[in-house]
Amino acid sequence: MSLLPFCEWLASTSGSIALHESLYMYPLVESVHVLTLCVFVGMSVMLDVRLLGIALRKVPVAEVTDRLVPWMLAGFVVMFISGLLLFYAIPVRSYQNIFFRMKVIALVLAGANAWVFHSGVHKKVHEWGIGRTPPRKARLAGGISLFLWAFIIVCGRMIAYNWFDCDMNPGPTLRLLTGCVGKEVAGGEK
């Protein structure tokens, strides 16, 4: 099943066209998306380095999660909505962009990692959270999170580049991975 027809339909809606062609709205949404990195990923990094036992070692992990996770969630909501809007502005090209696809996969993995942490080892945070170096499972969750979010940021930045776009005539493997079909007419990028 391909989501291409859906993306094509999305691209034909007036809202998508308006956002794509707007002089200020698109840059504004993108700025919000990028600057919210500081809130969401910034706070995540602090939590992750605490889980790794590198920083905030005197602060109980439960306090870090209690006090910083609300900020992370707020930042995430803003990033997610602004990200959806960026996709909405350029659906077909994004859908067939290799970096966009890698980013989406990494996002799902990051979500799974967070879920495993919160429903697993974090349930007993009051037993281990005061220790300077958290147990292995918690350190692993922190390390995976750091890696995935760094990967997501880099992929996100690279979406802007058209090196592997369908209209650049990529090789057969890339055509398969990016879902290119027939002769492509890629949407422009700002």
């Binding site: 840059p27 993108e30 700025s31 990028v34 600057l35 990195l37 500081c38 809130v39 990923v41 910034g42 706070m43 995540s44 990094v45 602090m46 380095v49 920083a55 905030l56 005197k58 602060v59 306090e63 870090v64 006090r67 910083l68 900020w71 979010w149 760094a150 940021i153 880099v154 930045r157 690279m158 580049y161 090196w163 700002k190």
Partner: protein, 158 residues
């Protein structure tokens, strides 16, 4: 004077190397963004604490001590990658209003962070009225927001 310096930068080998590569700019900018998220976390953690939010069960001094190395390290990465990005297109920067906006905010932000903000953070918390903590946080957030918004806008102009 400034313009001729920028023109000289454009004649350097480093400029040639970065701007003729199809991927160097993208890679440098990605590292710049990675460091942005770290510096954002380090700045926010202390500014939120100044505002009575975030890790408020910790003393301001403790939060400042924890955040400081991350702030300094990420700032160094941002400056190094930022210089490289500048070297790749100096004359474009010269004519870019957001570039000058960013550089002004950056100079002010750095001076403020390492003088006033650092002093306020390390002073005896109880000897200072909370309004000064809040004011410090607001000024810091505004200055760094100026840096970030200017930085993003360089890419849209020209």
């Amino acid at each position: 004077m400034v313009f001729s310096f920028f023109q000289w930068v454009e004649s350097t080998r480093m400029h040639e190397a970065i701007s003729s590569s199809s991927w160097a700019f993208a890679v440098i900018e990605s590292v710049h963004l990675l460091a942005l998220s770290v510096i954002g976390g380090a700045v926010l953690m202390l500014d939120l604490r100044f505002l009575g939010m975030g890790l408020r069960r910790q003393s301001i001094q403790d939060v400042a001590r924890e955040a400081h190395p991350w702030l300094v390290a990420s700032l160094i990465v941002m400056l190094v990658t930022g210089v490289a990005l500048f070297v790749s297109e100096p004359t474009k920067c010269y004519y870019s209003i957001p570039f000058w906006w960013k550089m002004t905010s950056l100079a002010l932000a750095i001076v403020f962070t390492f003088t006033v903000r650092r002093k306020v953070a390390m002073a005896d918390e109880l000897s200072m009225r909370p309004i000064w903590h809040r004011l410090t946080a607001v000024v810091s957030l505004l200055l760094w927001f100026g840096v970030g918004s200017g930085g993003r806008w360089i890419g849209f102009s020209g």
